[in-house]
């Protein structure tokens, strides 16, 4: 019979406050004695070094062959206790951690009931551990190359960190140039650094780095494999430019006769040509031909760019190219979209010309933007005399997004400062709450307050152009209640800027699916742990950085990009990683050759030997889901870690059926 030790954790009062831990331990020692339990203890903090020593000592002195720890979720401390067992000479997979905190004390309210459930949970663990078998972790090697998806500031930072450490990076960007949203901005809060001045040197470093292979105008189509050994298929869309010949001189877009409204980089505020680079400092410098808008592709004639190109770099015959790369780690930094302000019809966006979004204003006040940085109304010549900035448009609103978009308060302050400085206009900030944490932010708020910006606390009800008196004629009227005074106000303005929410990319769900990670209900990618591991995902070897994980400002994005790179570098340096040895295998003697399992594996790990009429599972490809184990009618497939015996035993234990029965085998 196995010698089982049961260890019940108080977790301070987290568990002990709702579960009588001492009673659970005493009960286990007495009632589960016939199930193999020879010792049961409770302790204040099992995960502390003293708690772990308790277990190690028992393994050595009492000769325990199995350990059950009743504490928090295995996702938190399974490794801690397995390692403790290993130190004491017990195979780590002979330790079972059952959750009586997340699944019992934190979710139930009656101490007697919670204690009874904790006993059942412990009993389930004891039964299960009887059928645990010693396992050895599977070692797999880590490919030293890394794939970074998304060339905004998060992806740029991550790529540079890894490349500077001496390892190869593939940086994939969907647009013709890297730079992301940050490249669209004029100034950055709270220091009012010029965004381009601090970003473009990094972009140039990426473009010239010997360890970075930059793949712009490209998208990842497919990802196979697992940590250390991913294979990514990347579609390089046809640029119609021979990049080895192109010098980026710009004659092609000068000569191109087709003007197109630029909805991406200029946020619809400006135009570009059909052959273009999104902005002057684009990296790489090569343009792309926008096929749906190119006159040659539409009508079959034009080729102005080809005629004038001094290096014959235009090639209308190019086609999309699929390339595959082998990488060990993947960093996802695909960024965010902005909220469509048309969804809030009462704010008049799309209907009233001088109601614009925050991203449009960024372009409007950008020195390289459509007005060369002059803040002008839609007529292109009038300076506004009064400007309103509406906060939380699509954020903190149960009709759209419940979350706070983090950056809008500081962005609103930045806009207020810029409008004030460049036009001398009266500026009104309409806010729900001002949120200015982090370094230098509150000071910036005070500075803008001192500049004479008006702050009105209230959610704007409506923006319209229906004048009621002479002062309001030709103006935009903001209807708002100043909730600090309790007064309804109508404020006539020339321009209204809507601070639109940051939203997950429209295709974030597909992206998550493609990389095998999960999204929250909102669509942000889910981190492994919200506090202790906000960089990793549930899928080993895939990390997230920047706004894909949730709204954040530039410093936080850079931090996360660097952190993701550090995690990937850690893996690369370790050269190999130990994986959970949960794999399925076939007992050839039992296999009837029915082939029911053959079509069930999405990883192609199951192969059938026609000559012997038996199925075999390739352990290198098996991911351990267990679907084939459950499907085999002959019971010929077994899975380590989650065997039928273990699960059935746990069911019995949870139902407290076998307290007085002798232990099988």
């Amino acid at each position: 019979m196995e010698k089982i030790g049961v260890y019940v954790c108080h977790c301070g009062t987290n568990i002990a406050g709702m579960v009588d831990v001492q009673e659970v331990a005493e009960w286990a020692a007495a009632r589960l004695k016939l199930r193999g339990v020879i010792v049961a203890r409770d302790y204040k903090f099992m995960c502390s070094s003293l708690g772990q020593e308790l277990i190690e000592k028992d393994i050595q002195e009492l000769g325990l062959t199995r350990v059950v720890v009743a504490a928090c979720s295995p996702h938190l401390h399974e490794n801690t206790f397995r390692t403790a067992c290993k130190r004491a000479g017990l195979n780590p997979y002979l330790c079972e951690l059952v959750s009586i905190r997340e699944q019992v004390s934190w979710v139930h309210t009656d101490k007697d009931v919670a204690t009874a459930k904790a006993m059942a949970v412990v009993s389930g663990g004891v039964e299960r551990v009887n059928f645990q078998v010693p396992l050895e972790p599977m070692k797999v090697s880590i490919h030293p190359d890394t794939l970074v998806v998304g060339g905004g500031i998060a992806g740029i930072q991550a790529a540079l960190e890894i490349a500077d450490a001496g390892y190869k990076v593939y940086l994939v960007e969907r647009e013709p140039s890297i730079g992301g949203h940050m490249a669209q901005f004029d100034k950055t809060f709270p220091t009012l650094d010029c965004a381009a001045c601090i970003l473009t040197p990094k972009m140039v470093s990426v473009g010239t780095h010997p360890n970075i292979e930059l793949l712009t105008w490209s998208e990842v189509e497919k990802v196979d494999g697992y940590v250390g050994n991913f294979t990514a298929t990347i579609r390089k869309r046809a640029r119609y430019i021979k990049t080895d010949l192109c010098t980026g001189c710009g004659i092609c877009w000068e000569k191109c006769p087709k003007k197109v409204v630029d909805d991406v980089f200029e946020a619809g505020m400006g135009t570009r040509k059909a052959v273009y680079t999104p902005f002057a400092q684009a990296v790489p410098k090569y343009p792309v031909i926008d096929r749906p808008n190119c006159t040659y592709f539409i009508k079959g004639t034009c080729k102005a760019c080809e005629k004038f190109c001094p290096t014959n770099a235009i090639d209308f015959t190019q086609e999309d190219e699929l390339i595959t790369v082998e990488v060990g780690n993947i960093i996802l930094a695909t960024g965010y979209d902005t909220f469509d302000a048309k969804r809030i019809a009462q704010y008049g966006y799309g209907r009233l010309p001088n109601v614009i979004t925050s991203l449009e204003f960024e372009r409007l006040c950008n020195a390289a933007g459509p007005t060369n940085g002059e803040i002008l109304l839609k007529d292109g010549k009038t300076k506004p005399k009064a400007v309103g900035i509406v906060h939380c448009v699509g954020s903190r609103d149960k009709h759209y997004n419940e979350y706070c978009s983090v950056i809008c308060c500081m962005q609103g302050l930045k806009f207020a400062h810029l409008v004030h400085e460049r036009t001398g206009a009266e500026v009104y900030n309409f806010y729900i709450d001002m949120r200015t944490p982090f370094k230098g932010y509150e000071e910036f708020y005070q500075r803008v307050l001192e500049e004479g910006t008006h702050f009105i606390r209230g959610k704007v009800a409506e923006v319209n152009n229906a004048a009621r008196n002479k002062d309001e004629e030709g103006k935009l009227i903001v209807q708002v209640e100043d909730t600090l005074v309790g007064v309804q106000m109508r404020i006539p303005l020339d321009m209204v800027i809507l601070s639109v929410a940051l939203e997950p990319r429209h295709d974030s769900k597909e992206t998550a699916h493609r990389f095998g990670i999960s999204c929250s209900a909102d669509g942000w990618f889910i981190e492994k742990h919200p506090k202790l591991d906000p960089v990793a995902t549930m899928t080993e070897g895939i990390y997230i950085a920047g706004c894909v994980q949730g709204p954040k400002d530039i410093p936080a994005t850079v931090v996360q990009g660097a952190a993701a790179a550090a995690r990937a570098l850690g893996k690369i340096h370790a050269k190999e990683i130990a994986l959970e040895p949960f794999r399925a295998s076939v007992d050839e003697a039992k296999c009837s050759g029915c082939r029911i399992c053959n079509d069930l594996c999405p990883f192609n790990a199951i192969l059938f030997h026609e000559d012997r009429m038996v199925t075999e599972i390739n352990p290198a490809l098996c991911q351990g889901c267990g679907t084939c184990v459950a499907a085999c009618p002959a019971g010929a497939i077994s899975g380590t870690g989650f065997s039928n015996e273990q699960v059935i035993a746990q069911i019995e234990g949870l139902l407290l059926l076998n307290l007085d029965r002798k232990v099988p085998a």
């Binding site: 979720s73 295995p74 996702h75 959750s99 905190r101 997340e102 699944q103 019992v104 934190w106 979710v107 139930h108 309210t109 009656d110 007697d112 009931v113 919670a114 009874a116 459930k117 059942a120 949970v121 389930g124 059928f131 998550a512 699916h513 095998g516 999960s518 999204c519 929250s520 209900a521 889910i526 549930m538 949960f582 069930l600 999405p602 990883f603 991911q623 351990g624 889901c625 267990g626 679907t627 184990v629 459950a630 019971g635 899975g639 870690g641 989650f642 039928n644 015996e645 699960v647 059935i648 035993a649 746990q650 069911i651 019995e652 949870l654 139902l655 059926l657 029965r661 099988p664 085998a665």
Partner: protein, 157 residues
Amino acid sequence: MTNINIFEPVIIGFTCNWCSYRAADLAGTSRTKYAPNVRLIRLMCSGRLDPTFVFKALANGADGVMITGCHPGECHYLEQNYKAMRRFHLMRRTLQGLGIEPARVKLVWASAAEGAKFAHEVTSFVEEVRALGPLNWGSGENGHVTELKSTPQEALA
């Protein structure tokens, strides 16, 4: 469970390591309360759910079984939750054939972010099973098997 006149069902819940087990963890860390009648088992995937497990649980005293997995299209193993879904429909038909209410088995999709949904589904399933009454699939006192007829190996043979 303080009032002995109210039937308290026992539910076995199967969870997927990647989504619903984490939803249960999230319900815990968010201190979202739910009915204590459920006892959870972690599998690597809902596709691992051998129908035997469900029948075993019901035969051994559980009044209901809740199967949980990743939402369609979000399976950690690409598509194995679809296989769980197919087996689920088959299981319900089999249960009906045995004269057991199919509503004693429920399939719930819960992502790692849906702690509140997980808690809500547990509580409402407990009420659904409470309404069905005890299953009494067994011979012992109060419908609970007091002694096992087989070892796990025999049960699976």
